[in-house]
């Protein structure tokens, strides 16, 4: 081994505080999950940015193809009735 580290890439997710979801923060390289967590801790939470970390091997993520965006996401555009603002009500109905 030439000292080249064929360490997998891990995606790091940080929960900023209790009550909110984990949010993607970036990536680290590490030989295993344990060290990925350690590295993520050192890299992304030096200033109390988080109370919980997730690491996931990048290769284990299945992502949608940007070229499929029209078939996946555009149909939602013509269903405005899914939004409450689509329904006009008399002013007398104050809060609904």
């Amino acid at each position: 081994m030439s000292g080249k580290a064929d360490w997998p890439l891990w995606e790091v997710f940080v929960r900023a505080k209790r009550g909110v979801s984990h949010v993607h923060a970036g990536t680290v390289h590490a030989p295993d999950a344990e060290l990925a967590l350690q590295n993520a801790r050192d890299l992304f939470t030096r200033r109390s940015e988080g109370v919980s970390l997730w690491v996931v091997k990048s290769n284990d993520i299945t992502a949608s193809d940007p070229n499929d965006r029209e078939s996946l996401f555009d149909p939602a555009d013509d269903k405005t009735f899914r939004h409450p603002t689509d329904f006009e009500l008399p002013d007398e109905v104050a809060n609904m």
């Binding site: 000292g3 990536t27 030989p31 030096r46 940007p66």
Partner: protein, 317 residues
């Protein structure tokens, strides 16, 4: 196929024109990808090499508090390098290859780190001027068209302002100190001023990549514009310190409110870029040694991970 590329190019142009972001899995022109890999990698290399001038004073900081602060700052710079290598990797170039390009000299890092740090006052001047100039350059990159780069820059900029403030405070302490300490602060300013304002790069009239990068939303301001902003912000700070900026031609232009600077020695700048600065060889040598010296650690971590994985499969069988 050509029609396909046309459609993809059109979609890319639309996103750029709308000042929207390009994300890793989007189609992008090869030149855009290449430009970004080069810029982000060089930026990452600069953060990593940038640890050395300050690392030089870690063991000699004047107090435990100063030592802890400087350690935290240097650690941040390592983190900045990692954020940026991560962003570059999303463009399809593996980290090992990026490091190779640094180690074999195929890619550069910022020339500012090829100057020696001779006294403790240099820690002040670097934080104040070098990190200050870096912030000026980096804030507009938070709106760069490439999403991962922009997001890395947001993190970096959040951490940078502590760097500049701790540097300025070192200068302030020295400027309010004994005549010897004041002279030390002035000497540091004398040595770091010109290299700092060179950090913005050559004048726009000579800049090679300028136009295309502006079109692509990678570059938002010209080199001269950013340099002017930096000088205008810094001159009053030097006044506050009671220090003199080593430029006899520096003067306030009443009409524009800008401080006009004297001629910059671009011959010297290019000489340092080409490898002839005071510390080029030392910086790269130290980096390569550190990488090679760390080989056994990486090997041990890999071997441990393999052993644990093997045990886990055996236990499951």
């Amino acid at each position: 196929m050509a029609a396909d590329t046309d459609a993809l190019q059109k979609r890319f142009d639309q996103l750029i024109d709308a000042d929207d972001r390009i994300e890793p899995r989007d189609w992008m022109p090869d030149e855009y990808r290449k430009t970004l890999v080069r810029q982000i990698a060089q930026h990452a290399h600069s953060e990593v090499i940038g640890m050395q001038p300050e690392g030089n004073w870690l063991t000699r900081a004047p107090s435990l508090r100063r030592k802890a602060i400087l350690t935290a700052k240097v650690q941040d710079e390592a983190g900045h390098g990692l954020y940026l290598y991560g962003a570059a990797e999303t463009l399809g170039t593996p980290r090992e290859e990026l490091l190779d390009r640094l180690h074999n000299g195929r890619q550069k890092y910022s020339s500012i780190f090829n100057y020696p740090t001779l006294t403790w006052a240099d820690m002040g001047a670097i934080g104040w001027l070098v990190d200050g100039a870096a912030i000026m350059n980096q804030v507009p990159l938070c709106r760069c068209s490439y999403g991962p780069y922009a997001r890395a820059m947001v993190r970096i900029c959040k951490e940078e302002s502590f760097h500049q403030r701790q540097g300025f405070q070192i200068m302030l302490t020295l400027a309010n100190g004994t005549p010897g300490q004041q002279a030390m602060a002035q000497d540091a300013l004398d040595r770091w001023w010109w290299p700092s304002i060179m950090m913005f790069g050559p004048p726009d009239s000579e800049s090679v990549h300028g136009d295309q990068n502006t079109r692509w939303g990678i570059k938002r301001f010209g080199n001269d514009e950013l340099r002017q902003k930096f000088i205008d912000a810094t001159v009053p700070q030097a006044d506050l310190l009671g220090l003199t900026i080593p430029d006899p031609d520096l003067r306030l232009d009443e009409e524009t409110g800008n401080y006009l600077h004297g001629p910059i020695d671009w011959g010297h700048f290019w000489d340092v870029v080409k490898g002839n600065g005071p510390c080029n060889r030392e910086r790269l040598g130290t980096r390569v040694d550190a990488h090679e010296g760390g080989t056994w650690v990486r090997q041990a971590a890999t071997a441990y991970a393999e052993k644990q994985a093997k045990r886990a499969t055996e236990a499951a069988a």
